[in-house]
């Protein structure tokens, strides 16, 4: 392999200014959290007959543990996306450094490798830190032997997992950062992120609707007594879900530019006009920021659909399912907050990287409040319709999979009777409103950068 040695690469990756350090710090934090989550999943996975008992039903019942492992695995997805987005943080400063490296004779691949090296290094550090925190927590929480434990603190974690988890994470975060850098062309004259302003709309729609229909067909064939093995059915379900998720995420860019186009020629408010034009010019920026939130919304919609189905089908006095779903929703809540953290990072980056324009607008008398509102609108305007789509799409898909009616035992008639599963509108609305609230709060938090970014000295900053 030509180009700089690994040693040089790492040294180039790790030097840099304040925003470089912030980016590395956030990557380390993300990797730490992901390590803890994945090690917790491993702990649940390795609960043996000798372990327990646990006061949490979902841990005590062996049949429910795969669900917990899956939930924790899914929880690491928004963390990985967060780390991927972090690799874009402080882009202007780093971009200049990359351009300088290119001037010195590095190839575009070398420059991207430097970014990957930085992320890998930060992830390794986070992995070590996360493992340490995990074992400290495990020892601290597992103090009382004998009584029922809350968490599987008595499970011994195999050494393979301790080595494997950070390795899996390095692969994941490096992949995520390469994905975030994907459309970047590093030239000696600075970095231009190539951007297509016409994102695809038909293919994502087909994927989303197709995935949902696929789940409905799958559900119908299961209810019709399909002979297929669980593995085949499970795989079919996973493909349906992935198609929906992929369609939603790919389509979010075109929803962003679509809402932008809808508003740009109508609005009277300067803030909305700026937001709309930015959505048209850079629809992928908006969609990248909201990927994790939208995934959480899709899964949230599905969870609500499942909850409605289960609670209708079972005795409503039985607290078991209710508690289990409450737990799932708790995990979901954590996922939403992590997901919204990527929003914070992206919005802050958008503000900081445009500081010269923003500073000269403020100098010209544009109130900062207008710029704040423009930034908020840029995130929230496309997010609201896409989130509604994700929530409703998710719950409708589950309704297709599980059917809109269930058979229950009617104790008065002493026989089976068929009832409709209600669509959980109220819960969906609450979830949607809550998610938008969290997103608004974190976007608003990123606007704390606005005052410094619009300082008059920033007019001298390079573009």
């Amino acid at each position: 392999m030509s180009g700089p040695s690994i040693e040089t690469t790492i040294r180039l990756a790790a030097t840099g200014g304040k925003s470089d350090r912030l980016r590395i710090l956030l990557t380390v934090i993300g990797a730490t959290v992901a390590t803890i989550i994945l090690l917790a999943a491993v702990a649940v996975l390795f609960i043996g007959p000798a372990n327990g008992p646990y006061s949490l039903d979902v841990l005590d019942q062996p049949g429910l543990r795969p669900g917990v492992v899956t939930a924790l695995g899914l929880l690491s997805v928004p963390v990985l996306l967060f780390v991927g987005l972090c690799s874009r943080l402080g882009a202007p400063a780093r971009d200049r450094r990359l351009a300088a490296i290119r001037m010195a004779g590095a190839t575009p691949r070398d420059a991207v490798r430097i970014v990957a090296a930085e992320t890998s290094l930060a992830t390794v550090i986070g992995g070590v830190a996360g493992t340490a925190v995990f074992f400290v927590l495990k020892a601290a929480l597992g103090a009382e032997p004998g009584s029922a434990l809350l968490l599987p603190t008595d499970v011994s974690i195999p050494i393979v997992a301790i080595i494997g988890v950070p390795l899996v994470l390095v692969a994941g975060t490096t992949g995520a950062s390469l994905l975030a850098m994907r459309k970047v062309v590093v030239s000696p004259f600075g970095v231009t992120r190539s951007m297509s302003t016409k994102p695809p709309r038909v293919a994502p729609a087909i994927l989303f609707v197709g995935g949902s229909l696929g789940l409905a067909v799958l559900g119908a064939s299961i209810r019709g007594g399909s002979e297929a093995s669980d593995l085949v059915l499970g795989a079919a379900g996973a493909i349906g879900f992935l198609a929906m998720a992929g369609g939603l995420i790919a389509g979010s860019a075109s929803i962003a530019s679509g809402t932008g186009r809808l508003l740009a020629n109508r609005v009277q408010s300067p803030a909305l006009l700026i937001a709309a034009r930015r959505l048209i010019a850079a629809p992928y920026t908006a969609s990248r920021a909201t990927t994790a939130v939208l995934l959480a919304a899709l899964i949230g919609g599905m969870t609500q659909g499942l909850r409605s189905n289960f609670l209708t089908a079972t005795d409503s006095d039985d607290a078991f399912y209710r508690t289990s779903f409450d737990l799932v929703e708790g995990v979901l809540l954590v996922a939403i907050v992590i997901a919204a953290a990527s929003l914070l990072v992206t919005t802050a980056e958008a503000v900081v990287s445009r500081r010269r324009t923003l500073a000269s607008l403020v100098a010209g008398g544009v109130p900062r409040s207008v710029l704040r509102r423009a930034t908020m609108a840029e995130t929230l305007v496309p997010l609201v319709p896409t989130m509604v789509l994700a929530l409703i799409g998710g719950s409708v898909a589950i309704r297709g999979l599980t059917g809109s009616q269930v058979e229950i035992w009617d104790s008065i008639a002493e026989g089976p009777t068929v009832v409709d599963v209600p669509i959980p509108w109220a819960r969906l609305a609450t979830l949607g409103a809550g998610m938008i609230g969290v997103c608004m709060a974190l976007t608003a938090l990123s606007l704390l950068f606005m005052r410094r970014a619009t300082d008059i000295s920033e007019i001298r900053a390079a573009a």
């Binding site: 609005v267 009277q268 408010s269 300067p270 006009l273 700026i274 034009r277 930015r278 048209i280 010019a281 850079a282 010269r356 324009t357 000269s360 607008l361 403020v362 100098a363 010209g364 008398g365 544009v366 109130p367 207008v370 008059i456 007019i459 573009a463």
Partner: protein, 244 residues
Amino acid sequence: MNESQTLAPHHSDQTPHESSNPNDAVLSARGLVYSFGRTPALRGASMNLERGEILAVTGPSGSGKSTLMLCLAGILQPDAGEVAFGSRVISEESESARSQLRRKEFGVLFQFGQLVPELTAIENVALPLMLDGVKRASARTAAATWLERFGVGDLAEVRPTEMSGGQGQRVATARALVAEPKILFADEPTGALDALSGEQVMTQLVRVARDSGTSVVLITHDARIAAYGDRELIVRDGLIEGES
């Protein structure tokens, strides 16, 4: 929105630059002091800007020209001294009052960077009017007139990223003047342009300023650009050195 304010440039029949009455100052500064941390940038500068006057401000690099302009325009608040605009002492006003003043009474022009890259030329020029509550349609009409005046009417739907430096600067000048400011502050407006586009921007800027009676504070280190001024002010070491 002030309904009596005309959106299209108006013509003034007086010849304002010939006025030499010292009481006619639109803006005056007394003893301005400003430091960036421990670096003194202004050390007691005083000056007057007369109605309709084009004042060239020159001086060596680092002498405090830009800092002087930022204080005069109410962007920076001086550590000591005062800036008066008519009967208002703007150096004592709140940030939001000064922000509104800059939007309504002043126009600000920098070397580059003040156009919103995602907005089209006409939207960029209409923005200050829309901020003051002018309806989108009338703001666009006025903006179109201003683009015409600067010879860039055909670029109305083009975004700044697709313009040449000179074209962008003409759009920025139209934007700085669209709200019909009393004073235009320009810091090296042609600094990033080649000689020919620089001359074009300056010719149009001066013509429009004369027509509308706008006073101009023009910062430059280029003698040819300074020659567009009615008067020249030299800044040296944070003080006004002398007038020529």
